[in-house]
């Protein structure tokens, strides 16, 4: 019986871990290039979830299909946010930039509260309840799709960073900002593109979780805090580390819930966070600069 519980914990942990990984990848990328910790990351996810909700409710567009709209749309929104809000404060002190993104997060959440009230909404396509059993472990189809989608998206992004010129420029900027500038890279544009990609990643993650989650103005917070833990775990600015970190945190959460009493699973996650900061401050897989 205990073996069944453990198997279930591993399965659910991995399924959710993929989503954590994708959310954290965007955060990590933005940190790597812009050197800011984006507190508004979760709020952008929330906006994307509302977009998915409205596309489904008003136009009947399938939440997974809507990624084709949501992803590019939030890439553009991210670029605009970077240009209008972040870039003018580029040379401000780091803590001011931090407060700026925190303010942005509060603004977006309250905007959502005004526009759509605090109601919980949900998107329930016909397949939302689908599930199957492997061994004795339950696998929910929407969660499986979310995890698979997150991995595909993360791999695509990885390939983009490795193979395209823009991707290489992003990596160059992340590893050696001054060198990149001297080599003629349009730093302003690349910073905007990186922020746009970060927003696009979290928007895709938002669309992927909507079929098994709910939509509310503060929904991004659940994922945002976890994403910080994942980023620290994987190494600030380390993109692959973020994906792996996502799986580790997902596993730690669900195993914690299975093996420990009560709400100690949160304790496991944040305990891990503190331990990594103490003993491996550059993250389990090293920071972005030493890859």
């Amino acid at each position: 019986m205990t073996a069944d519980l453990l198997l279930q914990a591993v399965v659910s942990g991995l399924l959710l871990g993929g989503v954590y990984g994708l959310v954290a990848s965007g955060l990590s990328l933005v940190f790597g290039v812009l050197r800011i910790i984006n507190f508004a990351h979760g709020a952008v996810m929330m906006l994307a979830m509302y977009t998915t909700y409205w596309l489904f409710t008003l136009a009947g567009i399938d939440p997974y299909l809507s990624i084709v709209v949501t992803g590019p749309l939030f890439f553009l929104i991210g670029m605009v946010i970077q240009r209008v809000v972040i870039e003018p404060n580029r040379f401000a002190a780091e803590h001011n930039q931090l407060l700026l993104t925190l303010g942005l997060a509060l603004f977006l959440e309250n905007l959502a509260l005004v526009l759509w009230q605090g109601d919980f909404r949900s998107v329930r396509p016909s397949y939302a309840g689908a599930s199957f059993v492997v061994g004795e472990a339950l696998v929910e189809v929407p969660r499986l799709i979310a995890c698979g989608g997150a991995i595909v998206m993360a791999l695509a992004l990885f390939a983009f960073l490795r193979l395209t010129d823009v991707g290489k420029a992003i990596r160059a900027l992340s590893e050696e900002p001054e060198g990149a500038m001297l080599m003629g890279i349009d730093v302003g544009r690349i910073r905007a593109v990186a922020f746009g990609i970060g927003a696009g990643c979290v928007a895709v993650a938002g669309a992927l979780v909507t079929p098994f989650f709910y939509v509310a103005p503060d929904v991004g917070e659940s994922f945002n805090i976890i994403a910080f833990v994942v980023v620290v775990l994987g190494g600030m600015g380390n993109f692959v580390g973020a994906l792996l970190g996502g799986f580790i945190v997902g596993l730690a959460e669900s195993l914690g819930a299975t093996l420990l009493p009560g709400s100690l699973k949160q304790l496991v996650v944040f305990g891990l966070f503190v331990l990594v900061l103490l003993f491996r401050p550059a993250g389990l897989f090293g920071g972005g600069r030493d890859r």
Binding site: M1, D4, L5, Q8, A9, V11, S12, G13, L16, L113, Q117, G118, D119, F120, R121, S122, R124, G129, S131, L138, E140, R143, V209, F212, F213, Y214, A216, V219, E221, S222, F223, I225, E253, S254, L255, A257, T258, P261, G262, S263, K265, Q266
Partner: protein, 404 residues
């Protein structure tokens, strides 16, 4: 008219401007002050309460006001807490300065815990609305009154209702699992359900506090399933309760029933409408009205007509509080706070729309007969299935679908 007299008159009219009933300036009136979070995160819920107050006040005024006071009208004086403790205190003090006979509010237990001292110090009767924390009536306060069941009454009576139902269905409930959010509300409920087990003879086989922010409960619910409970009790808010019910369904959790305890989702009409299949036959122990009462039907119709929406349990509570106050004012024959307090403490009011016997207060100010209703979603509607004498439908128990 000299300058001072002019200013006094002008000032008096300006003050009256803040009161809705400006046209009745000469008639004697009873000032009722309310403090509610009418702006801020709880604004939506606060207006549900406010509508209930307004409906009851207008009903009484249209029927000739308080007869023992020569037909004096009730006037509601507003105060906004924004759900903040400091504002609750200052608004309460302001209203007391304006000469209210009674203070009503303030929705959240946190604000209530502080405001009750302000009311006590100023010897002003304080009628609690919505706040459930057990400790609000503790400490030997004389001026605090609560009509609705507190956390203890809510949890013990709901468990009792479930156990009675189990006996009636020859499916006794011996093993109970509970999941509750790990804040003050859920923990209080969990403590009561656990403590009550020893008395009523059920074993708490699994108790899982959880964080509201957790996006997945599969591991927790697998543990619940493995402990083979007869009942799964859930005290939580909207989003978490929803995910728990969905995951329990997919896991084929194998219990006789899923029971909400003061749950924010399981008897919520919107949640039910959004999740028809999932919610069917869910139980919830919660505040409610008496569906057998013809008066309740009339009140619901009047509310619907006036506010173009359905009266909620928050509105029912508020409506009832005004009814209790009217009864006390008639007996006190005075707007004096101390006389009103004494009249309130001798309340024995049978004419109300709650699923309980007469409203009476004990020494601490708790309504001794306060009881939650046991609700079950049937055909997409929450109906009262217990206690038996208020029931409008027979419960479906055990619920086959949870056994998959």
């Amino acid at each position: 008219m000299n300058r001072r007299a002019f200013l006094q008159t002008a000032g008096a009219f300006a003050a009256l401007g803040a009161v809705p009933s400006i046209g009745r300036a000469q008639a004697k009136e009873v000032k009722l002050g309310y403090i509610l979070p009418v702006t801020g995160p709880l604004a939506f819920e606060a207006h549900l309460s406010l509508n209930g107050l307004q409906l009851a006040v207008d009903e009484i005024n249209n029927a000739g006001g308080i007869k023992a006071l020569g037909g004096a009208k009730l006037a509601l004086l507003p105060g906004d807490t924004q759900n903040k403790v400091e504002l609750g205190n200052s608004e309460a003090a302001r209203l007391i300065d304006q000469g209210i006979s009674v203070l009503i509010g303030p929705f959240s237990s946190l604000v209530a815990y502080s405001v009750r001292q302000v009311a006590e110090k100023n010897k002003t009767p304080f009628m609690l609305l919505a706040a459930v924390a057990d400790n609000l009536t503790e400490g030997g306060l004389r001026y605090v009154f609560r009509v609705q069941p507190n956390g203890k009454a809510m949890s013990t009576l709901t468990m009792n209702n479930m156990l009675e139902m189990g006996k009636a269905a020859s499916t006794p409930i011996k093993r109970v699992a509970m999941m509750h959010e790990d804040g003050n509300f859920g923990t209080t409920m969990g403590n009561h359900v656990e403590a009550f087990g020893a008395k009523l003879g059920y074993a708490m086989v699994q108790r899982i506090p959880y964080s509201l922010k957790s996006p997945d409960f599969t591991a927790e619910l697998s543990k619940v399933k493995a402990s083979k409970p007869d009942l799964l009790v859930i005290s939580g808010y909207y989003g978490d309760s929803k995910i728990i019910a969905e995951t329990a369904s997919k896991l084929r959790i194998g219990v006789h029933a899923l029971v909400g305890l003061a749950n924010a989702a399981y008897s919520n009409p919107k949640f039910i409408a959004d999740n028809r299949e999932l919610t069917e036959q869910l139980f919830d122990g919660n505040y409610w009205h008496n569906p057998q009462s013809p008066r309740a039907k009339a009140v619901f119709a009047a509310y619907e007509k006036r506010f173009n929406s359905t009266l909620t349990s928050h509105g029912v509570q508020a409506y009832t509080v005004i009814g209790v106050l009217k009864d006390a004012l008639e007996r006190a024959g005075s707007t004096d706070r101390d006389k009103l307090r004494d009249a309130l403490s001798k309340t024995n009011l049978a004419d109300h729309i709650l699923p309980q016997d007469a409203i009476k207060f004990d020494d601490t100010g708790e309504n001794v007969n306060a009881t939650p209703a046991l609700l079950q979603v049937q055909n997409g509607r929450p109906v009262v299935v217990g206690p038996a004498r208020f029931a409008e439908a027979k419960p479906v128990f055990p619920v086959p679908k949870w056994h998959g």
